[in-house]
Symmetry: C2
């Protein structure tokens, strides 16, 4: 079993190291991850600049390859150039901070798993629901369990799993829910600031999910906030089929 690990927090992130330790027993692990933090890059890929690959050693041993690109770049270049053929599974994470609701679109962590799915390789993205003091252990152990099931059962073509784990001690997690991506928006604001040369700049902040929404029984945010691990199957298809039926009746000419 050949498994490719990547992330969007960068190759030196703790979440990736803990994930690697936990998944080692599944087979041959390769790491190809961004050289630097790539959060909120979405499904960006690098076409206008060259990519460079650097071997990274940790504690005197080869650890993986760092790429000056995005998580989606890492999956592409690993599969095409760096590994001996495509891996059997791609796991991205463990991200610090949840990737749920509309945030999924902005997430580099998720894009790596979606990229794998596009290539026909099962992909799993794993995040922990806290940015400041993330606990990775329960998430790593759950990923091992889930990876075993994915390897055994397979995933429908083009599907990636987006996993979000509450930031709780393992024995306080209430279970697992299979969920859909919720449409909760995030509260956004821009801070207006002045630089040392008295020039105006803006800094964008995305804050916690809006509480105005009606919680839906099977959505990712509800599962996470109630202490469940959320597992959402994603694909690349963003077609709004309901809208498609509707607009077919439009008279354009």
């Amino acid at each position: 079993m050949k498994i490719l690990l990547t992330n969007d927090d960068g190759i030196y992130a703790s979440g990736l190291r803990i994930l690697r330790s936990e998944l080692l027993e599944l087979g041959e692990i390769s790491i190809v991850a961004p050289a630097t933090e790539q959060s909120a890059v979405g499904h960006a890929i690098t076409l206008y600049n060259p990519l460079r690959v650097e071997e990274v050693r940790l504690n005197g041993e080869f650890y993986g390859c760092a790429v000056n690109g995005t998580p989606a770049d890492c999956v592409k270049i690993a599969t095409s150039e760096l590994l001996d053929g495509p891996p059997d599974l791609v796991v991205s994470g463990i991200n610090r901070g949840a990737n749920v609701g509309i945030n999924v679109l902005y997430s580099g962590t998720v894009s790596a798993a979606t990229e794998a799915a596009i290539m026909g390789i099962p992909g799993i993205a794993v995040s922990v629901g806290d940015y400041t003091n993330p606990r990775y252990d329960a998430a790593a152990r759950f990923t091992l369990r889930l990876a075993r099931v994915v390897i055994k059962e397979g995933l429908p073509g083009g599907t990636a799993l987006n996993v979000n784990v509450p930031n709780l001690p393992e024995d306080e997690i209430r279970g697992v829910m299979f969920t859909r991506q919720s449409d909760a928006r995030f509260v956004e604001r821009f801070e207006r600031r002045e630089d040392p040369r008295k020039q105006l700049y803006y800094w964008q902040a995305i804050e916690t999910a809006s509480s105005e929404r009606d919680a839906e029984d099977d959505d990712d945010i509800k599962a996470l906030t109630e202490g469940f691990i959320s597992v959402t199957p994603l694909h690349h298809d963003m077609t709004n089929r309901r809208a498609l039926e509707l607009i077919r009746s439009w008279k354009l000419y």
Copy 2:
């Protein structure tokens, strides 16, 4: 009627200028666009760096605001900070090069329209199916027509329209098809090159759509290659509902 225009080719792109001229008759046009080309940035947003806004003048007149960020950043900062309240419509383009199939995920042009949709504002992304010698006129005129219908009929909540126009003289375009996003993959390859210091680097190329696929009657690529304008309604929801039903039967514990 207040209309925000943006793109991913940058504020000085011809496609944007032609779009602006054509849509002027609809109402008050504002331009907030990336300062530099942002193709393939996907739905990236800028959280780790400040954003700066610069007023751009063309032919001695105020033209719009350039932002050192992505198309999604432009929609966010325009709506929150730069305009007097949210626009009634956001139009992104005209992009040179098609945004169909899986490429939709990588597209900065499309991400601006999706970002608008997330905010509850109707969004339209417009692309022309040729990168080297794009013809913008037919696309601009169709966008005006479509924008009128969108203003009159509205769009279902959270929906953006992804429009792709064949690179043909207007009288050779065969009509309009309402389509779904196809799952055609693109042929990817990495060129291995050596820099002047004899260091290896890679350059990623995404090539034309794979021809192996079975064309589907109502998909975006088929419409475009057969000379039709393709209009695909998109939303932010990437949940694979078929897979969700399937994995609900998994035994994890």
